[in-house]
Amino acid sequence: MGQNDVVQGTLEMLILKTLALEPMHGYGMALRIEQVSEGVFRVNPGSLLPALARMERAGRVKSEWRTSENNRRAKYYMLTARGRKALSDESETWNRQAAAIARIMEA
């Protein structure tokens, strides 16, 4: 694992959270994750785009082509109802796991 890669297995959850606020296109998501994590996590397209395709197959996001801010055509992704549910499930699991790890590390 590289220095700036996301914690293994959490990429989908992060994407879901990012999309929970508003629909975005691919690069926008990568930028947002980098910004909000204050540079700790950098997602490269090699992981992001396949993850998005997987989630689309699983029905958690859906996509449509729109014009972006600089008047170009871009593929925008947005959450579906199933995606929202997945987000709440996964964040609950993550919180539980993180708390457990913290307890162990402080013991």
Binding site: G26, L49, P50, G59, S68, A74
Partner: protein, 922 residues
Amino acid sequence: MRFFKNLARGARGLFRKESVEREMDEELREFLDASVADKLNRGMLPEQAIRAARAEMGSGNALKHRIRSTGWESSLEILLQDLRHSLRGLLRTPGFTFVAVLSLALGIGANTAIFTLIRQVMLHNLPVRDPQQLVTFGTSEGDGILGGIDLGMFDQFTYDFAHQLESQPGPFSGVAYYSSFPPKVSVRNGGAEAAVQVSASLVSGNYFSVLGAAPFFGRAIFPSDADAPNRSAVVVISHHYWQQILSADPAIVGKTISVNSTPFTVVGVMPEAFHGFKQELEPPDLWVPITMVEQIMLQPNMLTPRSFYFLHMFARRSTQSTLSADQAWLDRQIHDYVRAGEGATIAAARLQEIDRLTVRLIPGSHGVSFMRTQYGMSLKILMAVVAIVLLIACSNLANFLLARGVSRQREIATRLALGSTRSRIVRQSLIESLILSMAGGAFGLAIAFAATRALIVFVAEGATYTALDPLPDTAVLLFTIGVSLLAGLLFGLAPALHAARSSAGPVLSANTRTVSSGGGSRSRLAPKALVVAQIMLSLLLLVGAGLFLRTLRNLQGQDYGFERSRLLIAGFDARLAGYKPEQVPELNRRLVDRLSTLPGVRAAALSSTPPISMGSWRSSISIPGYTPQPKEDMGSPINRVSGQYFEATGIPLVAGRAIAPSDQAGTMKVAVINETMVRRFFPNGGAVGRSVKINIDAVAGPWQIVGVARDTKSGDPREKAQRMIYLPLSQIVGKNGEGIGDSFAYSIALRTSGEPAATIQDLRTAIASVDPNLPLLQVRTIQEHLETFMSHEALISRLTVIFALLALLLACIGLYGVMSFNVARRSNEIGIRIALGATGGGVRWMVLRESILLLVAGLLLGLPISLGAANMVRSQLYELSPFDPAILLTSGAVIAAVSLFAAWLPARRASAVDPMIALRCE
């Protein structure tokens, strides 16, 4: 909903590749542009920005590939790719592929055909209710009308006994009976239509209810139909008859058909699967109440108490009673019946004898089948033969796949090194094996259809309609396909798994000039073992084929006791044309006169039974001056023959004279007996001139013996000759010379001067000219006639020979394949040897030596197995020891010759290896 969305998306990915591709390109481009723009924003220089953005993205193609593989359609595409690749690979070696598929197909097809037949002949359950409750009284194998026997002998019973048990079945829930053979009757449907001859079965009133067989439509026969003789002329017809002859007339119930010129009303039609309780080769088409026996068999008084034993019986057991209790009850009924018929005083010895009478109750859920007993052993042998062929075929397939596995080791190692997953490699081998198995299975199915049909035609001996279904048995087909699939998977998978497990390094870097480059001698053990096994099995089959062939030859060549060429035998039945006994002597005379004048006929004769037959007309005899031993069988088959019989059949006389045309109704009653009779009753000679009393109704004896004829064989060619008395047909008449029931003749014998087949048409015309209504039932040359008795010998031996040769061919190809593959793999090693000075002959010998070792191992191991198997089929052989050395030696020699030939070609190729070429290519 998601499922369908996914499906749609995947389908789009499959069929609209370009638009999906374009979308992905666009998305990537957009990403890249956005990334560059963002970096420019942060203050990077344009080239830096572009480079950085590109570096982040990595290879566009790899990314697109990763994106694509998230969907199911990419797996499908990969599968299709593998499929195409495997197919191409298989087609590149067409010879091997063809042989592997063909051997599998033949194994599967032949196996299915044999098993289908066996299942139907041996294992088919009756299409009736709860067949496991049914029991037969005895084996019910005999057929015919017997008189003067004890009740239950040959499992035949009289009408009064059967009827008594029908009304009072004791511990059984029902007792029913039927005629022990289906007589042929003449049926006419409408006024003008021609008559057809079909088989009819006479049954008790409760036959269908005891069986639990429901009609297809209409009704079955009820007990009320069989309450009085000659009443209730009703008939139930078979599905086959209804479809073929009556064209599936839906309103057939209530219509009338004419059976032997008596009108019968059709009351019902049976379902297609129902063929009666006893499975005959030609199943009955009509079921008629027993009380109509006189119209069907054209013989009066069949129902008279204690006269004619012609019925088989069966019963449905009730759950309350045990088998031993049922058996005891039946035996008691038999004893009571026989005792009641003996009169007031019975000798103590006779009482004991009566008490010993028993008829065994046998489970009848499969019905009774003549075919089962006659063909049972033969079919089992064939089963074994075909299973062996299947084994050999699977070995070929296995060898082929193993060889492929080894030759692809480098390919696999290379692919592994280039990043392929192990699962993909294994999957591809799997697909290859499956393709082979499927192809073999598909062809095998086609062969199964054809082979089943052919086999049935053979077994049915030319009967036009049998109850056997030519549709291959699905269970067996699935089983054999499963076996071949298993073989394919096992032998295709094993090397692939092995290769995929090992790391690429050692294989790739192995110095290909060493012996181990070919995979090492260990990897060659499996193919060698398989070849040895194939040779063993081939030896077994060849020995078997040799034994059966010789048996057949022995049977065919044996002396039957009469002239065996240029003899035409035909069957006919004047009763079917409505002849009354009074008209018969005149008819017989006219027939003999007319037939004797046929061109190309040297002698013509009529007889009651043909020279060789299964059935016979028996009567008891007594010889003045000879006191029979107690319980001695004083019966003898009797053949009623016309004047020229001995000339026509060529049966020589060893003493006295033959029956001549001059022996007529008014002259002295004469008889000719055969050698077996003489040996038994006149051991000191002097038979000619003695007289004998024969127990025939309406014809008083005594008969004077005027000649002794040579023995002839009866139905079973393996049996010793039976007794025979020949009586002049024209002397079997009533007191005033009028015809009686026994005056009928049923067989015509013609001795021809040329080929008998040429006279057949003349025979038909001649018969028609005497009476156009007289049906000829069968016309055969004596050769054909004899062959029907040896049909199962011919069946086994011919089929075994075919399969043995097939197995040998397959084994030979297997050996050739293994040897040539070995040579190919060792070509580097051989190149070095030649370069170092080995001669061509030396190299040849080196390869041949390997083959010879395999051959010898196979023969040595196969010898005890072959001897053991030969011993098991000893009962099928005739005048032949199972350990016949000539056959063993010949089989071994044939295999050796074939194997050496198969090994010679690769050996020659080995010696022709050019070391420059061999060492050059890596």
